[in-house]
Every structure is written in C-alpha cells, then in structure tokens.
C-alpha cells in the first residue's frame, strides 16, 4: 500500500474529535490487509523473464501488469456488508511495485468477515468527476503519480484503463512482437457505450477474516493471469495482438473477472 492510499485514513483519525466517539455504544474499528498476488497457473508471475503458454498454444511473456481495485466491501457471516469508505477504496495494483499489492484497509468495523467484493476498474461516478476534484487526486490523479507514470488513462476518450497487460509473444502480429491489452470503458459520459466494469465476489475458503481492535487479518487474493487469456473466451494473441477500446475488449474483461480467488487468510 502506498502513501497515496494511507493518507485519507490517517486524516480521518486526526480530524475526529474524541468527544464524538464517547458514545454509550462505542463503534470499534480495526484494520484488514488485502494482499494481491499475481500468478500464472500455479507459478508466481515473473515479469519479463518467464515464458508462459496460453490455451491456444501461444507463448507469452508479461512485461507489464497493472489493474485498479476499487469499491471494496467486506461481507459478514450474516450476509451484512461493510462498505469501505469511498475515499479509501481506490488502488492501483502494479506487478512491478510490490508495495502496491499490499492494501491496508483501516477503520473497518470489527467482526467476522467471510467474503469480499470489489470492482476491477474505476466506477463511472469517479470517472466523470471533475479531474480537479479531491476525489480524482491521489491514486486517481490522471496527471500525476502512478496513474500518469503508468499511462493508465485515455486522454483522447477520457477514462481509466482498468487493466493493462503487455508482453511479448512469438504469435504477436505487431512490428515489435509485443501484445497490448488495455481494457477500460466505464459505460460512457453522454451516451451509453462500452462498459467493462466488473464486480468480483469472493468467499473466504472455510476461514473467517477476524477484525478486532488488535487482530489484523491478512487476506491473500490470487490473480491468475493465465485466465486473462483462458476464460469463458479463449483469446489468441495472433488474432488480436492489440485490444484496447473496442467491442471485443469485453472478452478480456469477462475473462479477467474470473481470475481472482482467495488463497488463504492469515491472522496476525
């Protein structure tokens, strides 16, 4: 987790007045950690060096993998939901930046959680918010920081690139032998268009994530990049070496919507 993300949680604390919390029925909060681990099949993803094979028999490497995780909700045993405050609920996972893969969510209501929901991408409300608004700063700042440095925003058709996967493949038809999947589309500003927002719902496998004022559970979420190619649709790099803002990008989004799973929960 980066300082970009940490800041709001700290500020909430520093700005709250002790008196306000002095209630007869105090609300207790704690923290939970979400660790995103990108894998390929049963191997840990190695940028650049490792060569993988997709289901149609094409080799590929991964040079870049970034995706947004947002609108996180934690589901309790009884089915009720704790929604992470909006301003602390946007993250950009970057394979090249291990810190970006560790999300610490603070001010979580204490309790036993059995599942999680999140969106891959940036919802339409944030996407159409004025770029000068505070809600479009930090990790969502299109002109500064990781989002800008990683070019995760389409200026020419304003909107975030929800997931960016790039690498090389002998099957790529581009001049440089690289393939490019830049998947975005929040539904359109003035008229309905491509919507690749995906909500992911995962249950914790036979375990609970316990949140107390002192216990911090760590949820390990794996993302199997193999499934970007091999999901409901089997994608061929030869057929499409570049998938960006186009109707067929939805096959990539449908595929990656199924790449997440919860591996385990550790309690610290």
């Amino acid at each position: 987790m980066s300082a970009w993300v940490l800041a709001p949680a700290l500020l909430v604390v520093s700005c709250s007045f002790p008196d306000e919390k002095d209630d007869t029925d105090p609300i207790e909060t704690g923290s939970i950690q979400l660790q995103f681990d990108n894998i390929v099949g049963d191997q840990d993803l190695q940028l650049d060096s490792a060569k993988y094979m997709n289901a149609v028999g094409e080799d590929f490497t991964v040079n870049k993998l970034n995706y947004y995780i947002s609108n996180i909700k934690l589901v309790r045993m009884d089915g009720s939901v704790f929604t992470v405050p909006q301003d602390s609920s946007y993250f950009l996972i970057r394979e090249a930046n291990p810190e970006s893969q560790k999300l610490t969510i603070r001010n979580v209501l204490t309790g036993d959680y059995t599942g999680i929901e999140f969106v891959v991408g940036v919802d339409s409300l944030r996407s159409v918010m004025e770029p000068s608004e505070p809600g479009r700063k930090g990790i969502l700042d299109k002109d500064m920081g990781p989002t800008n440095e990683e070019a995760m925003y389409w200026d020419w058709n304003p909107g975030y690139i929800f997931l960016k996967l790039e690498g090389s493949s002998d099957s790529a038809t581009t001049a440089n032998g690289r393939y490019y999947y830049h998947i975005g589309g929040f539904g359109g500003r003035t008229e309905r268009t491509l919507n690749n927002l995906k909500t992911i719902k995962l249950t914790f496998p036979g375990q609970k994530a316990i949140v107390t004022t002192s216990i911090v559970s760590k949820v390990l979420i794996q993302a199997d990049i193999q499934k970007v190619f091999n999901g409901p649709a089997q994608l061929s790099i030869k057929q499409s070496s570049s998938l960006m803002f186009s109707d067929s990008s939805k096959y990539v989004a449908d595929n990656y919507a199924g790449m997440f799973s919860v591996k385990e929960i550790k309690i610290n």
């Binding site: 970009w4 993300v5 800041a7 709001p8 500020l11 520093s14 700005c15 301003d87 770029p131 000068s132 505070p134 700063k137 930090g138 700042d141 299109k142 002109d143 500064m144 920081g145 800008n148 440095e149 070019a151 200026d155 020419w156 058709n157 304003p158 359109g188 500003r189 003035t190 008229e191 268009t193 491509l194 803002f245 186009s246 109707d247």
Partner: protein
C-alpha cells in the same frame, strides 16, 4: 489594527485547520497571501457570437495566467524531446494549424493519423478533436502531450521539468515557478494549474475581426459583390452544417469521404456506436483560407478540391461521394445526383466568400505570438 490582527489570527487558525484536515491528495495548497495578486482580465464575446461553452467561473482569466498559458503553449518543454510545443503544429500564420502538413508531425518525425485542427474560438467548442472525444478544454492539452507520435511526454514529467526552471544555459530563460506564482498566487506547479493557464490563453484566442465580421457589424462595403453572392449561396448550400457565426453546428457527420488507408472510423472510436462510423466533427470555417490542407486527414490541398468533392463533380466524372450507411442525408437526397449541386460560378463565389473569413488581425496579433520559446518545422 487590533481588529485586523484578530481577523488575521482567526484566519491563520482556519487555515491551519484546513491544512490539517485536508483530504488525501489535495495537492493544491491554499494560495498564500501575496503582494502580487494576479490582475483580472475581462473576457468579452463578440456581440453576435453565442455564449461561450467554457465555464470561466471555474478558471477566471488573469493577465498573468494568460501570459503563462502563452509560454506553455509555445514551449517545447512540454514534449519528451524538449523541442515540440503546441505552437509547433498550431502555427499562428496558418490560423494555428500546421502549414503544409496533411497529418500531424510529432517527435522523431513521427506522423499522426489526422490533420492538426485550428486552435481558435475554443471558448465555444462543445467538444474537441476530430472525433469529439474530449468535452472540456482543460482536458485537451494532455492528449497531444501524451500521444506517442505527437509530444510523447508524461504530464507528470512536464510538471517536474517546469519546477526545475529556469534552466542554466537555456537560450530563453523562463522561470516557471515565478510565472505560476504570478498567475496563481503561489509557486506551486500542478497539472491543474498548467491546464488552466493553457485554457486561459486559448480562451483569448478569438478570431472575430475578418472582413466578414466587419460586414456583419454593419460595414456593407467590407465585402465585394461576388463575396456577397458567395455568402448568399453559402447560406443556402453549406450553412446547414457550417452553421452560425462559428460556421459549424459542432455535430459529427459523414461527408462522403472515401475511408483512408487506416480506415479511420472517426467518432465511432469514441462511442463504438455503428451510427457514428466515418463521422467527424464539422470544423469551423473561420480562417479556412489559411488552414489548408483540409479534411480530417488533410487529403485536399485547396478549397476548389473541397468544393469539387461536395459538388460530386471531380474531374474525371467518377462519383466522389462514398456511399455507406452513415452518409449524411444532406449529401444523399432521393431522386438526384449525390452531393450538393454547385455551378462553377457558384463555387468561385463561395470560395471568394470563404476567404473573407481570413482574419489577418488574428494571425498577426502579438498577444498570441511566440514569446521566443517556440520551435517550428
């Protein structure tokens, strides 16, 4: 005096609170009190123009803001190679288009896919670029800056470079921290401020002093008889799309051009709506006599060629109107030859009229000229 101190003290406390409670990422610090407050600049529209689209209340013009915007517009520091500014492809003498270039020409001699549109009367644009992908002027500059074949730079890196000015040994010493302070009250250099300054400058780039404008304002002698004829024919045959005093209805239309080699689908790339295939934004015709070549890919070099296309009587007699499902109905009226029927004399009159939209004051106005930081090729 006591009272003033009290108020100041109160303000200081408020400021301290505001700072400590600031939400994440609001990296726009409160403007610090400064003795050099920016000088407000009154923006007035020509009386016969519609109301501007740009919301000036969110970015009021100041003399210093416009000046900063002008430096940023021309400075190659906005590009990866430090030698391509906005003004490189938007040259004043060509009404802020790229003279002699059909397609945009960027870093390392890379060639884009579309013709550089004119930067003029931006205040009234409801959308920007040939496909109208951008809806807000403040979001225009990052498009060429971050395009790989135009300026190929990251905005975040431009900001870092601006912070490091003045650069020792540079031919023209520009002190951006000082200019940002003059424009915005503090020397904080942010992308929001950079875009606002560029918008301020572009807001001032109003072309409304052509001979046609003098005619509209009541000088009947500003146009010749042929030009007046041309205006009459223009209103009958061209103004349904090139409407109003801005000479565009700002819509997206398929004007029957044969798709080019890259099969540029225009507006469709933004909406993915099949009804938008091959549609491009209707451009303003102000300064059209200065902004050749024409069309989204610069395929026509003269106004004669443009009118030959619309009239569908290109030399050789081949149908020049490309028929596809989205072809504009105005060019495809039932029971007659496709296109707009124009006699040779009518074409000449229309062209004579179009040239009265050339605004010599606009292309010579020192307020819009390179302050000495620009490059061109």
């Amino acid at each position: 005096m006591r009272k003033a101190t009290g108020i100041l003290g109160f303000l200081a406390v408020l400021l301290a609170l505001a700072v400590s409670c600031k939400k994440s990422g609001t990296d726009n610090p409160e403007p610090k009190p400064s003795d050099n407050t920016p000088t407000p600049l009154q923006w007035t529209k020509p009386s016969y123009f519609p109301d501007p689209v740009y919301d000036l209340s969110k970015n009021p013009l100041t003399v210093e803001g416009v000046e900063l915007g002008k430096f940023l517009f021309y400075d190659g520091i906005l590009s990866r190679t430090d030698n391509i500014g906005c003004g490189t492809c938007h040259q004043q003498q060509a009404a802020f288009t790229h003279h002699g270039h059909d397609l945009s020409h960027g870093v390392d001699d890379k060639i884009g896919t579309r013709n550089a549109p004119s930067v003029q009367n931006m205040a009234w644009n409801t959308s920007f670029f040939w496909d109208g992908g951008v809806h807000d002027m403040d979001m225009v500059p990052p498009v060429p800056i971050q395009n790989k074949v135009e300026m190929d730079e990251r905005v975040s890196n431009v900001i870092e470079k601006l912070k490091k000015t003045p650069i020792a040994g540079a031919a023209k010493q520009v002190d951006y921290p000082k200019m940002f302070k003059a424009a915005f009250g503090s020397d904080s250099i942010t992308a929001d401020r950079m875009m606002q300054a560029l918008s301020q400058f572009m807001m001032t780039m109003v072309s409304a002093t052509s001979r046609y404008d003098y005619f509209v304002r009541g000088d009947a002698s500003a146009l010749t008889a042929q030009e007046k004829d041309g205006l009459t024919i223009f209103k009958q045959k061209c103004a349904s799309c090139h409407a109003g005093e801005l000479f565009t209805d700002q819509k997206f239309r398929n004007n029957g051009l044969m798709p080019n080699r890259i099969n540029d689908q225009g507006r469709y790339a933004i909406t993915l709506n099949a009804d938008d295939r091959l549609k491009f934004k209707v451009p303003s015709l102000r300064n059209v006599g200065l902004s050749a070549p024409y069309m989204h890919d610069g395929r026509f070099t003269t106004l004669e060629q443009v009118l030959d296309h619309y009239a569908n009587d290109k030399p050789g007699g081949k149908d020049s109107i490309y028929v596809s499902p989205t072809l504009d109905p105005l060019l495809n009226a039932a029971g007659q030859k496709r296109g707009i029927s124009l006699t040779s004399a009518e074409k000449q009159s229309i062209i004579a009229f179009l040239k009265t939209l050339n605004d010599d004051d606009f292309i010579k106005d020192k307020r819009f000229s390179d302050p000495g930081v620009g490059t061109s090729f």
